[in-house]
């Protein structure tokens, strides 16, 4: 499954909890500073490894992360196979 995240840098305080929890290790810390003086988390995912698993948004204390996932469109036959 493909997913991605958007991190609101102005809300992020650089606590790095999302960096540690990400199973695909696609979150890093930016070299830039936010207006509050923190170095925010950024998504570094050139290979599209993010699955939208929600772990980062669950652990984020500042609710700075929005998570997206690829909408899966299946034919009726595929749906039947997936349910079986």
């Amino acid at each position: 499954m493909r997913g991605t995240i958007r991190i609101d840098a102005n809300r992020c305080k650089g606590c790095e909890l999302c960096v540690g929890i990400c199973p695909k290790k696609v979150i890093g810390i930016a070299d830039t500073f936010t207006p509050k003086g923190y170095r925010p988390a950024i998504l570094v995912d050139p290979d599209g490894q993010c699955t939208g698993c929600l772990l980062c948004s669950t652990i984020c204390p500042d609710v700075a992360i929005t998570v997206y996932r690829e909408a899966v469109s299946r034919t009726p036959a595929q749906k039947h196979a997936a349910a079986a």
């Binding site: 606590c15 790095e16 204390p61 998570v67 997206y68 909408a71």
Partner: protein, 256 residues
Amino acid sequence: MLAETMTVVYERPETLLPVVSHYCPGCSHGIIHRLVAEVIDELGVREQTIGVASVGCSVFSYNYLDYDFAQAPHGRAPAMATGIKRYRPNHVVFTYQGDGDLASIGAAEIIHAAARGENITVIFVNNAVFGMTGGQMAPTTLPHMKTTSSPQGRDVATMGFPIRVSEMLATLDGPAYIVRRAVSDPATINRTKKAIRTAFQAQLHGLGFSMVEILAACPINWDMQPEDALQHIKNAMIPYYPLGDYKVIDAVKALA
């Protein structure tokens, strides 16, 4: 990167205002605020909700949670919530209190609100220190834990033992729902959200006093990195404050 076929699977809850909080990096208050906002959104009771903010870091919860709010003197949030709930019984009334507020100066209020079985919900955030004033020892500070007012560690011979609030209140006949949860990893966070939802549902059904104690991290005053602080909850807090359901009356069990 964001393809058009992608749909939002998580976004900020509606009743959590889009502002930057004053909490320190890694502070668990942000997570717990979010869980409360998500539960109120999902229950659809935003317009009936009245919060009571306590004294401590969480006093500013009224700047972040978009409900009507009152601000109680130190420790008196359950007393104020009692008055609001009795005057407006159709509203959802909750208090949001830390351990430096609820377990110390507010001990009398919480015990009697629980004993009366007031139909309110208490969100009790236990991080074992007084956070706002600089990390002094609280009634819930663990034995041998170093704080700014117990620099040699809490010596139980002279400073007494920590109070297990959930166990204590569960001995009373008044409360309907008393549980302890933690926010140390995504699994415990999700379980905490379920408990908060049950607590609010108990109030909506008029079943009486409900409280969720949440073991939380205060990385700055614990002098730890945020990730280490969450580990500290697991390694030090949970052994002394075991997670679990301390009182769940049958009517609350029937809600689930």
